[in-house]
Symmetry: C2
Subunit: 512 residues, 2 copies
């Protein structure tokens, strides 16, 4: 009899376990079905948390981009930046980027977009609406709702009440079936100009690059008529290829621009040299490196497949693969992690050394040219040095604005930096002769060895108010303007209830 | 009955085939035993053909190094070399190297060793005996027979009757059992100085690098007392590590040299700058590249395992792995050969561009310094530029004297070249100011765009006879002196009957 009781107990336990297992299998199957055929029905796809019900793991990992919290003040690290960018907003304030989670906060906080709607004489940001383009899925929504040209027309503060969600789901995914999608058409325009397959004609693996390329690419603002106004539209300068020399050729060709002049993002206020500002050509440099050439996509390393229990998914905590080496590197490399890290450290150090050579020589060349002009040097005397500084600064910036370039394409990055320094030094050799002829053979460029010293030189040349004045205006902007923007957004249902706590009004955002 | 006949015929055929097979197996086994336990009994181990009986396949493939016959006149390709090496024999004549088979011929033919025993006033080569060190297994024999210091004492022509066999078997193999062996002790001295394991304590894989490192390394001639004479002994400057910065530190430290002065191979006769000539640091650069770091040895790629019938052996036709990609690269890389070649082409092109920047700027700096001295610039005024040119030229030469560096360690090579160019340009920036102060703000360095123009400048500064005079003396040397050397060698049993047909008397050896 006891035997039968024991057998019954075991049987019942087995039934319970099997039942639990079946429930778990059903739950997993439900999640799998949701992933492959989610039947999304989102009221506000630009609100990231709305995607969390169907994609709890992807959303949860995305939210962890908030763990990348550190800001590095690049002007403090490289004071020469304030000289080479004199007259351009980057000379006010420039931090190394952190997690996607902070994209909108950091864009609002930076001195670059200034303090619009604070001074009656200066109601608008000095920057165009397009400066939001890479910061938010709200931009995808605005482009859809208003049309690209209307989105691009006007100043940055025009969309203060509309752009509140940081880079998230709707930037890369379709709102009905969550498939990969590029909400920004200018990438396709760039691909067409470069005679490359468009997004829709690309393989899934290439699409996993292209969604990133929406923002991690070189671009400029192309003045484009929109009725009586002018839209500053994002354009990729890829017509002559995705390499820096092809892009330089593009920017130098007057035929590519409405004013029939070579393109310049700004004129350096110290030297008067027309400068092209390079903007994180991560995608382009990646394609020239060995990982890119072997078909490794951005997501393979930055969004490695990960497992929670029996569920496998793509990790949306986009970050340095050095933090996920077991899943990002070790799937291909049979090598000790520390050994790989040491090799990367060498690559980083080499880049840093060449960065320093080039940026210091460029900054010195700008200052030597300023002195030469003061002493009466003519445009004709300086023409060759102007061209050398323009080219050198483009190359230097191209190589370093892409923060991961030293890793994505190590030798290409060193090569571009080396050419940049050659240009800068060649300009200096010429400028020393000009200075000598103007009686200043022994001229020493003023000290720009700290952020404060460099900004003092740069701000004076630009005739900008002091850093303290800019910061005080900014504080006022954040105390008075931003809270109103957020209230309006909330009333319109556009404010994510799970938005960054460290939100746009709360925090200054630079580390001075 | 017919059945039996047929059966018998088949049986007989089978017996014959098996017999042939057994013979073949026996022959192969004999070859295998010979390879692993050769019981060599060589009368003259420095005569390469003596090894052919026991190692017919290795010898046969070695002999094919004669197929690498092309000489490239580097002074024609890069005329600036004649400027940066002004006063040093390399400015007379410098060809890119070809197969090992031609090592002795090419060393005899070059104008660098000049035309000893032709002019009564100048009976000796301007170069020391040590200039044979990497050219021949006869050097191993001489070091054994005479002792290192006696081998190193005297001038190059001292060993004209002794050194006849080109780089071959006895350079890397033991004469009794053919195991890997380094006949040149200075490598062990270098390893000890660098606190690295000696040859005997190294793994077999490392030994396969070190036998190559005997010659494919940076070295200099250290003046060493030998009785009343001075031996110019080959020394590896590895005390502060195997990187160019450590070696520069070594060369700059007066304590390392008998005259208590920083080391210089020569003083540039145009500028007066004391120069360190870098000498093919292939081994050192290889260790800093990814193949070296992953433990790939020189032999893995340059001497890949190969098969003839059923016999597997190491291919001794040492050459570019691009010619043996199927055996050298494809054993590890799963990639299309043409794609790998295209990647290498990019690496090569990057190096060539930076080579050009650096060498042209160095040459110009030498010429600008010459002008500054003519105009009365003092040593004190030029001290900083002198140091910059010395450092820059060392770095440039280090990166390019290793012909395969662009491949062995692509980013390290670009990095060193980039630093070299930074030095050269920094020197030029200073020199332009000095020139301006001496009234020569517009000085343009003379044209050195062809070998002829560059050598004219260089030879004049060095007070050398014309190129034509050097070449005429050389011809006389080869017609009158070399045949006698070879006769003596033959009488002593040292002349390989299979020596290069294109032998030392027969051919001029440079492509002007």
């Amino acid at each position: 009899m006891k035997k039968y009781v024991a057998l019954l107990a075991v049987s019942l336990m087995a039934i319970v376990v099997m039942g639990l297992l079946a429930t778990d299998i059903n739950a997993k199957e439900g999640e799998r079905v949701a992933m492959t055929n989610p039947g999304l029905n989102l009221e506000h796809p630009s609100v990231n948390s709305e995607w969390s019900k169907k994609f709890p793991r992807q959303y949860g990992s995305w939210k962890k981009t908030s763990e990348s919290i550190e800001l590095e003040d690049m002007l403090k690290k490289w004071p020469a930046l304030a000289i080479v960018w004199a007259g351009y907003p980057f000379s006010k304030d420039y931090n190394a980027p952190r997690g996607h989670y902070y994209a909108v906060v950091d864009n609002t906080n930076t001195l670059r977009v200034a303090a619009p709607e604070i001074n009656p004489a200066d109601p608008d940001s000095p920057l165009p609406a397009a400066c939001w383009t890479c910061k938010s899925p709200d931009v995808v929504r605005l482009m859809e709702d208003k049309g690209d040209l209307n989105y691009y027309t006007g100043k940055w503060n025009k969309w203060g009440t509309e752009v509140t969600s940081p880079i998230g789901c709707y930037d890369c995914h379709d709102k009905t079936d969550a498939s990969l999608k590029m909400g920004r058409k200018y990438v396709n325009d760039g691909l067409k100009a470069a005679k490359l397959p468009e997004f829709k004609d690309s393989t899934h693996q290439v699409k996993r690059d292209l969604v990133c390329a929406q923002c991690h690419s070189e671009y400029y603002f192309h003045p484009t008529p929109n009725g009586e106004k002018t839209a500053m539209a994002v354009v990729f300068p890829w017509k002559n290829g995705l390499e820096p020399e092809g892009m330089l050729k593009y920017y130098d060709d007057p035929e590519n621009f409405p004013n029939k002049q070579p393109f310049a993002d700004f004129k350096n206020s110290i030297s008067g040299v027309p400068i092209i500002k390079a903007q994180h050509p991560d995608y382009e440099l990646h394609t020239t490196g060995i990982h890119g050439k072997k078909g490794v996509s951005c997501a393979d390393c930055h969004m490695p497949y990960t497992q929670e229990g029996a569920t496998k998914f793509s990790d949306h905590q986009i970050q340095s693969p050095l933090k996920t080496m077991d899943r990002s590197c070790m799937t291909c490399h049979r090598e000790d992690q520390d050994k790989l890290k040491a090799i990367l450290k060498e690559k980083y150090d080499r880049k840093e050394t060449l960065f320093k050579f080039a940026v210091n020589n460029l900054a010195t060349a700008h200052l030597e040219m300023q002195k030469a002009r003061e002493l009466g040097a003519t445009d004709a005397e300086l023409a060759s040095a102007v061209k050398l500084i323009r080219n050198g600064q483009w190359r230097w910036d191209y190589a370093v604005a892409s923060h991961g370039g030293f890793y994505h394409a190590p030798d290409e990055t060193l090569f571009i930096l080396s050419k940049a320094n050659q240009d800068a030094q060649a300009a200096r050799v010429e400028l020393r002769a000009v200075l000598a002829k103007k009686g200043a053979a022994d001229f020493q460029a003023p000290d720009f060895s700290t952020k404060e010293k460099a900004q003092a030189i740069s701000f004076a040349a630009t005739k900008w108010p002091s850093y303290e004045k800019l910061a005080a205006d900014k504080k006022k902007f954040k105390d008075e303007v931003v809270p109103k923007w957020l209230e309006t957004a909330k009333a319109n249902g556009l404010l994510d209830p799970e938005r960054p706590k460290d939100d746009r009004g709360a925090w200054f955002g630079h580390s001075k």
